[in-house]
Symmetry: C2
Subunit: 243 residues, 2 copies
């Protein structure tokens, strides 16, 4: 009996690693948020799936733990991207603690990296990942982190930039960044990364604050002071001296 | 004619995505730093390889660009982990600019995520990636970023924590972090992630500063104020309220 928390990458089967694929193949039960299960379900027709809704994360972990114990089988809990980045890895470890069931995390490609590849090479220097969801982190902490990340001239990758419950967080975040970063700083978003309907746009920080495409299916990357746009890509130089 | 910059993940073929595999299969020439080419060479016996040493990054990109143009073929440039994180993606885009040759970045699992999975779930909240290599970023900038990341209570992932050329950078970084973070903050390193000889240890920030295993093949993760160690794993809670 073992539980694997598996990052399935951005969504296409082509970005699921062989290790993640084999892990899912080896498990009897696969649990996950419905949207993510739908992405992989057809590749594992023999499996027993446990589907749950958003905000049922605790129940999802508890139910999988119970099912694994009851049936004496291995189970997998999937997250999109990497399970260890705003995903299910930590919660599953917390909930399984003391159960005697071992939990192994199988990494996947997280949205920062898949978005960066679409946008060019914005993350070539030091960067931060900040989630704008204030469900579990208070806004003052998020705002403070945005200030410090700007003061450090980090490239900034924003997860969960906006949702129906908090449509204003992204604009509020941009207003903070604009106090420290040039309005011309390159910025881009990718929506539905690696999935049907993928779209992206590259613009400036000043422009992206007004962009109405930013929602919970979107990842946003804002460059540092050295970033520039060339041939429709964002490049943050690593610092090599080119002639 | 096209150039792909491909992240091969931590090193094992099991963590190379199908997309990356197919991309390498589709190219005539594969270029890269010798250590990384050696990791994948046996899976692509038909390919023409262009091998270069460390610190020959500019020549590596220029030579691949020339070879692709001369032979009118597709070429791949590989990076370990993700090519967009301290890898070759940015430089290749810069060097190919104006050549008329399109460059596409194929993402891979970067060391922060593969190390985190080995250590448990340390990256569940906002985190920064900082490289301690001062070859291309001056130490004052690195030191300032370490301070700001600590003030923001970010989880901190250190790339290139030490090398033969700068053995002291890691200890200097720890001394900075210890001014802001508790000495009991969970910290861990993973060496040779996903490769033969993988090893990891979990300890405290106070202990890791004296650790003599930290070198250029190592990734270090230092928790935030909420991180804790349980069953030999580092967990940074996302913030779910558990009973």
């Amino acid at each position: 009996m073992k539980i694997y928390v598996v990052g399935i990458g951005p969504g296409g089967i082509d970005e699921l690693t062989p290790r993640a694929y084999k892990t899912l193949e080896s498990c009897t039960i696969i649990a996950g948020y419905k949207r993510y299960v739908d992405l992989i379900r057809k590749y594992f027709p023999e499996k027993s799936f446990m589907i749950s809704s958003m905000r049922q994360e605790i129940e999802r972990c508890e139910n999988l733990l119970d099912a694994v114990k009851e049936n004496n089988v291995d189970g997998a809990l999937i997250s999109s991207g990497d399970a260890g980045v705003y995903g299910m890895a930590g919660l599953m470890l917390e909930i399984a603690s003391g159960s005697g069931i071992e939990v192994e995390v199988v990494p996947g490609i997280t949205a920062a990296n898949s978005a960066a590849a679409v946008l060019g090479a914005p993350l070539m220097n030091d960067y931060v990942n900040i989630s704008l969801s204030d469900l579990m982190t208070d806004w003052n902490t998020i705002a403070k982190r945005l200030v410090l990340a700007s003061e450090g001239d980090f490239v900034i990758c924003l997860y969960n930039p906006a949702s129906n419950h908090r449509p204003e967080n992204f604009k509020k975040a941009c207003r903070i960044l604009l106090k420290y970063k040039s309005p011309d700083t390159p910025a881009g978003y990718v929506r539905n990364i690696g999935r049907e309907g993928q779209e992206f746009t590259i613009m400036t920080l000043n422009e992206i604050q007004h962009c109405d495409k930013i929602d919970m299916l979107t990842t946003v990357i804002i460059g540092n002071s050295q970033s520039y746009i060339q041939n429709g890509k964002i490049i943050t130089p690593r610092g090599y001296k080119l002639e």
